[in-house]
């Protein structure tokens, strides 16, 4: 293992200390707990939006706390759920009387703890609704969508919900739109190399030289196929085919595209892949409203990428186009 570390067990807290020092006007923590992160500059009177999850995925999850997106995030250890109590403290801090929406990925520990936090909030008369994002088409077959892992596509759910809350819509309405975004996004990823959790010190699985894992999850969950490394064009074809067939995305549809790097794959390669994605979508008669290319949800230093498509209608398009400004993500009006 070669990493910039002090003590492995301090990795998450020292990362957080760095983040608060770098962005003191944007982010702060509550309850004297570095892992209860909230906006320092919240807009008054709106629905609060909270997320949470394990560390090791920056800019996911806490990177989307900021203007036009979400208001708070509870931060777990690397690939570990934060506690229900941390989620509850964040909930209390961001509630402005309009209620709080939880948006998080479909993982057992996170679900249990967010459910618990919602119950704690209920005891204090804070209204909480939840949206569980799961869109990785490789993690479970069609018909069992409820079992799918949440991966990079949650970015679109944050963006849509954040813009909806900024329009001062009600909690129910923000949830409806977040659900709609979650229902219309599909993702699939490929990995070329594993990642190392600092406290473990070595990779928890291997991908041999010259091999790739198709459909791997962002914690190294096994994919659907392991085989010789394919070209960028072949990889794009596999990902687009599987995603387009799943929703399905059809001729005449308009989509937003996200090509996401998993941590160690350069942007150059992401654009090489997008070149083919664009060609396939064009041939299929699917038009592209906007393309996001970069690191949106990573897995430490894993090499690999994921592709997400979000099917748009007028209301989702309007919300996706709104500006956003967080320490990790900035977007002008599209």
């Amino acid at each position: 293992m070669k990493k910039f570390l002090n003590k492995p067990e301090q990795f998450v807290d020292e990362m957080l200390e760095g983040i608060y020092l770098a962005h003191p006007d944007k982010l702060k923590y509550v309850n004297n707990d570095l892992r209860c992160l909230v906006r320092a500059d919240s807009k008054k009177g709106k629905v609060g939006i909270s997320t949470g999850g394990g560390s090791g995925h920056l800019p996911l999850f806490l990177g989307y706390v900021g203007d036009g997106m979400i208001d708070g995030c509870s931060v777990g250890g690397v690939f570990q759920s934060p506690s229900a109590d941390q989620m509850f403290e964040v909930t209390k801090a961001i509630d402005q009387g309009q209620g709080v929406l939880y948006i998080y990925g479909n993982y057992g520990g996170d679900i249990m703890n967010f459910d618990m936090a919602a119950e704690m909030a209920d005891m204090e008369d804070i209204k909480v609704l939840q949206v569980v994002a799961g869109e990785d088409v490789a993690s479970s077959p069609k018909g069992e969508e409820h079992k799918r892992r949440g991966v990079a596509g949650i970015f679109f759910v944050y963006k849509i919900a954040g813009a909806a809350a900024d329009k001062m819509l009600s909690l129910e309405e923000v949830k409806r739109l977040a659900d709609k975004a979650a229902a219309n996004v599909r993702t699939m990823g490929v990995a070329l190399s594993p990642c190392i959790v600092p406290e473990i010190g070595k990779p928890s699985f291997t991908i041999e030289d010259g091999q790739m894992e198709i459909g791997m999850g962002i914690h190294g969950e096994p994919g659907i196929d392991k085989g010789p490394l394919k070209t960028a064009d072949e990889t794009a074809q596999i990902l687009v085919d599987k995603i387009v067939k799943d929703l399905p995305y059809e001729k005449g549809d308009e989509v937003a595209v996200l090509v996401n790097g998993l941590g160690a794959t350069p942007k150059e390669e992401l654009y090489v892949l997008y070149r083919k994605v664009s060609e396939i979508l064009n041939k299929a008669g699917i038009s592209v409203f906007h393309v996001f290319v970069g690191e949106i949800a990573t897995s430490m230093e894993m090499a690999g990428l994921s592709l997400s498509l979000l099917k748009l209608d007028d209301e989702l398009k309007e919300l996706l186009a709104k500006p956003a400004d967080t320490p990790f993500y900035k977007q002008f009006q599209l």
């Binding site: 229900a84 109590d85 249990m112 703890n113 459910d115 618990m116 119950e119 005891m123």
Partner: protein, 212 residues
């Protein structure tokens, strides 16, 4: 003593703390066989927090005190079993909200809500080799005994017997849930630490009624 007051529940929470602290090393040992051996630590941390909260609680609302004890538990022990215990006490407490006196019927509604909380939150089913497999049979017995207007101690003696049989049955089961599930067939014959926690809960209540 067929009516329980808040002082009784403070004493029961205190006894639960003692029991979990006494069983700390035993729980660590049996959890280490197929789990991550933190169960003894999380249970003693959780019930110490619950007992501390109860000691400081100055009102006479038994339900609210038990709910608050649940919140304190999940705060002090943010692991799966800590969260489940917290959920159980929060839900059970909710069922007794506003009550300053409790009879067997009320106590059954506490355990019924507790059990429902475990099933909702943990998502494990009966027969998966978890705490549910000792606690659920005990709660069924309490329902019967409550319907028959039994006395507290005999009712809990029968519930404890059901919990003990539940531990035996769970030992024979193949684990379907949590880390132990990875052991598949090999999990048969190994005691489930969660089922022991379920038995300890009922046993502590039973022992308390015996001494009254």
């Amino acid at each position: 003593m067929e009516k329980l007051l808040i002082s009784d529940f403070k004493e029961i929470l205190n006894k639960l703390k003692d029991v979990m602290v006494e069983n700390r090393d035993y729980l660590i040992e049996i959890d280490g066989i197929m789990g991550d051996s933190d169960l003894g630590l999380t249970m003693s941390a959780a019930f110490t927090a619950a007992s501390d909260l109860a000691e400081d609680y100055s009102d006479d609302d038994i339900g609210t005190m038990l709910s608050k004890a649940g919140m304190a538990m999940s705060k002090a022990a943010p692991s799966t079993m800590g969260t489940l215990m917290g959920t159980g006490f929060m839900r059970g407490g909710k069922a007794l909200k506003g009550k300053a006196e409790i009879n067997l019927k009320n106590l059954y509604s506490f355990w019924d809500a507790f059990m429902t909380g475990l099933l909702d939150r943990g998502k494990a089913k009966i027969g998966d080799k978890t705490i549910n497999d000792s606690l659920y049979p005990a709660v069924l017995v309490l329902k019967d005994e409550s319907d028959r207007n039994s006395e507290l101690y005999p009712a809990f003696q029968k519930a404890l017997k059901a919990a003990e049989e539940g531990v035996e049955k769970a030992t024979a089961m193949q684990a379907q849930f949590g880390k132990a599930a990875y052991y598949g067939e090999k999990s048969r014959g190994k005691v489930d630490p969660g089922s022991i926690v379920g038995k300890l809960l009922i046993e502590t209540f039973t022992d308390y009624f015996k001494t009254q």
